[in-house]
Point group: C2
């Protein structure tokens, strides 16, 4: 695909070609982006699993450095209402509102998931985007569905974008009113307002919903790509032969089955490409605005995603598992400072995790990433051409399928419906709780991940090695977040000077100062009353 | 030792003979008692490492069941001030005060650690006990030290209890004013007040500091036990021959060296026994009061400790490591209800952890322990004579020595100064982060734990098996605390009825209801504005 604007950022910055998300599902992945912590650490393991009140976020770290953190778009964050109630926090207060929005101040929160059914809307919030559409004359209760995410049937009725057969129709909306241009406009409004209000410096999380289901895009993007533009599918019949049970369950679900049909891929992928192209154009609009206003010279820009999409590869749709299509994401970072001049336009293949961004932003603003809280590592050395010593040797991703039909089908208890991925450049390993065998791919000899070696006795040593890495990782110190290493070191030996005198039999074992003044002698006679 | 009152409770209840603390150090152990969670989960891994604001405590669980939870004595809890500030919580508010006191309402907080040195008091709070002593006429700034924890020299000056040579002297205080009777009186006052104020039902954490350093006890307890009452020391010269480095560092510290001297043991242990005897007498006083007021008939009583004490065994003093002397604790539970009649006076040797108490208390009050938060398991089945299926196969304990001289001596970074114990009835295993070999004891053939098999190649399989258990445990789901398994199960399939329609190519793939009403057809023509 031709994406000249995203490419422009890549030319200005560094493209990280081995960037992985901490979980291939929106909510959990985002909570890792926003906390800089693994899912196993923050616990918000799936969509709408609330993020604990106590988790410290990017917004907290940035505010400590004098930077306001703002949201424009989607977070898929669900508030920990029980945690809020326990601490008497109201979402109407400034602090409570931030805790309710994973640390961001909200310029515009719109997750773009305005599905509606017999039980109501999937997202019970107000929809600023639906309000916008109504204000522009789009009719009905849910123009997000009826216009932005639907086409028109020949008889002029709504051709719902939920039906993938409609993916090749143009969405029945003016292009400028569709989701990506709308949210880009909000980002521009945001920057204008921050400038006018003295709200700089800021961090802006501009979070597009698209590309995402429903798969449909307005003119002219709907027919820019024909089905002949669709890349060959990456899958093999052998993958369906005795697959890992969890993988098998996902191939067997409605999404996997649908995306295994050529007609689905041939309809959806061109629309998906159109949605990407539209994003690229809107990023161009944003860059032009930032160029005109000078922001391009003092703003770090990061382009990334919360997960990928199988789109039929490996007999799967959407995300959820750990093939590269799902767990690997684009990550491009443009750093305007002089130190980054030497790396502009380069590609870095270091193993990067989404949690690295929090650390990167902290260090960009001159802070020191608190390693006892933030588990990611700053990418600044890579941006500034410095080798980063002792860089991580493997990346970790997790998936919690406890709320999905796969858990039911496999008869797995909610606490066992969890997957862990450990990957480096050579191997990708997946452990599944609940008594299943692992999965293993040889990324050198099988870069398309078509042959699962997890049941192959010849790879027992590799599997054992990956299990050791997983154990090393799960033992990590992830919860000692209330005291830093430096504070611990500074605390050493302090109790002696506050009078705790242990292992002392007599004066010969003790320091004089402590002995004389605090052990009574100097206080003279000691006569107990009564 | 003759402890008729503790024995009385054992006769009324069940004695758990294999009870372990989650960490053999006061603060970390207590935070596990108070949260029902492992140290690796709550992160307050050592004394004065603050407990995170977000951690849910026994007090929270009990309040949900209509039971107020009160503190009378020690917690060794340090407030997470940064976490409080982040959420705008004041310790002056009811909620903030509870968060500051690990979930308890405070009837009396007194940690009993009023050491004082050139940098001030070890504990910067006000000391209700010191205030009491002053009100009773005990002189000076710190009568806790000068009277309650010191004897008198021949020349009538203070014989500081910090010097273990004085352990055989009587503490220079009226027995009724010493720490254990004082706090017992507070517990009685507490029960009186709750009755008068309608504060029942309550949970009371009566937390004695003694037996504890400074090792000294008032008359008549100071000479109840002679040095001939001291049990033979459990140690062997071979333990000092090429020990595990962490064990070696602890043998080498001032405490280990002191308690390896016979004169120290012979002075300290009789005082320690006197302190236990005094506790037993005070428990008798409490039981008598509870008998007279009827509380004995409706109050569950638990006797336990936050850790043990080596007192010279294994060439060590105090606690910190995982020999039975340190990590195993007394645990006796008396349950007044009829269902417990069949088990009164029995001993249960199931592997019990301190975190089990939170779950036990919740279920005693008719609640269901929230397994997504509380990691311990209710002991009620054992109290009520029901076999508990699938009981745990091993116990876990941890120790964080990052703040101690051992970390300096061994050159271990703060995040690597961590130990994990896995034990069952047959084996005790210890993993040390930082590149050290493990330790291993054969509890069947070496119940005194004198021979460390951790470097013995003949035990590689056992060590590997224990590492697997450790890995299984560290992978556990400990942070998904904002949503229960039941809530997850109930959430399944809900998004479809809120309109999320995935993997649907055309109407043939979708349910009719969803298709007709929410996919546009029924809404008639769809004409986008201008």
């Amino acid at each position: 695909m031709d994406t000249p604007n995203i490419d422009r950022i890549a030319q200005m910055g560094v493209r990280f070609s081995s960037a992985y998300v901490q979980s291939p599902v929106c909510g959990a992945s985002r909570m890792s982006f926003y906390t800089g912590r693994y899912v196993h650490s923050h616990g918000a393991a799936w969509n709408n699993f609330p993020l604990k009140v106590g988790e410290i976020t990017l917004g907290d770290h940035m505010r400590d450095l004098g930077v306001q953190s703002w949201l424009v778009g989607k977070t898929h964050m669900k508030v920990d209402q029980k945690g809020m109630d326990r601490l008497g926090l109201s979402s109407q207060s400034v602090i409570g509102a931030r805790v309710s929005e994973c640390g961001f101040d909200v310029f515009e929160r719109d997750d773009g998931l305005w599905a509606q059914g017999p039980d109501g809307f999937y997202d019970a919030r107000r929809s600023p985007y639906n309000e916008y559409l109504k204000s522009k004359g789009y009719a009905g209760e849910n123009p997000w569905h009826d216009y932005a995410n639907s086409g028109v049937e020949d008889d002029n009725t709504v051709a719902s974008g939920w039906f993938m057969k409609h993916a090749d129709k143009p969405a029945n909306i003016r292009e400028e009113d569709s989701e990506t241009p709308y949210m880009t406009g909000k980002a521009i409004e945001f920057m204008d307002k921050m400038k006018a209000d003295g709200g700089e410096p800021w961090l802006c999380h501009l979070s597009y919903i698209k590309p995402h289901w429903p798969y449909i895009v307005p003119e002219p993007y709907h027919n820019m790509y024909g089905h002949n533009a669709v890349q060959p599918v990456i899958r093999d019949d052998s993958e369906r032969d005795n697959p890992h049970p969890v993988y098998g369950a996902y191939m067997d679900n409605a999404i996997g089955k649908a995306f295994s049909r050529d007609e689905v891929r041939e309809k959806v992928i061109p629309a998906y490409m159109g949605l990407i192209k539209q994003c690229d154009d809107q990023i161009g609009r944003l860059l032009d605005y930032m160029g005109k206003t000078g922001r391009i010279d003092d703003t770090m820009i990061v382009i990334t995603s919360d997960h990928g999409d199988y789109l039929g590869d490996h007999w799967l749709g959407e995300k959820d598992l750990f093939h590269e299509q799902s767990v690997k994401v684009p990550m491009i970072i443009y750093d305007p400072c002089d130190a980054a001049d030497q790396t502009r336009g380069t590609v870095c293949d270091a193993l990067v995790e989404s949690i690295d961004l929090v650390a990167t932003f902290i260090e960009t603003k001159g802070g020191t990433s608190p390693e006892h809280i933030v588990e990611g590592r700053s990418l600044l050395p890579f941006l500034h051409g410095a080798a980063s010593d002792n860089w991580r040797e493997f990346v970790v991703s997790e998936y919690d399928y406890s709320a999905t039909p796969a858990a039911v089908k496999l008869g797995v208890a909610p606490r066992d419906a969890r997957l862990f991925m450990i990957a480096d450049k050579n191997w990708k390993f997946m452990h599944a709780e609940g008594g299943f065998r692992p999965m293993l791919f040889d990324l050198i000899n099988d870069p398309q991940e078509l042959t699962d070696l997890g049941a192959d006795a010849a790879y027992a040593n590799t599997i054992s090695f990956m299990y050791q890495r997983l154990a090393q990782w799960t033992r990590r110190m992830a919860q000692r977040t209330t005291i830093s290493d430096d504070e611990i070191i500074a605390s050493r030996g302090k109790s002696a000077r506050r009078g705790v005198l242990l292992g002392v039999y007599d004066e010969a074992d003790a320091e004089d100062e402590l002995t004389v003044k605090y052990r009574g002698k100097a206080q003279g006679r000691s006569v107990a009353p009564g």
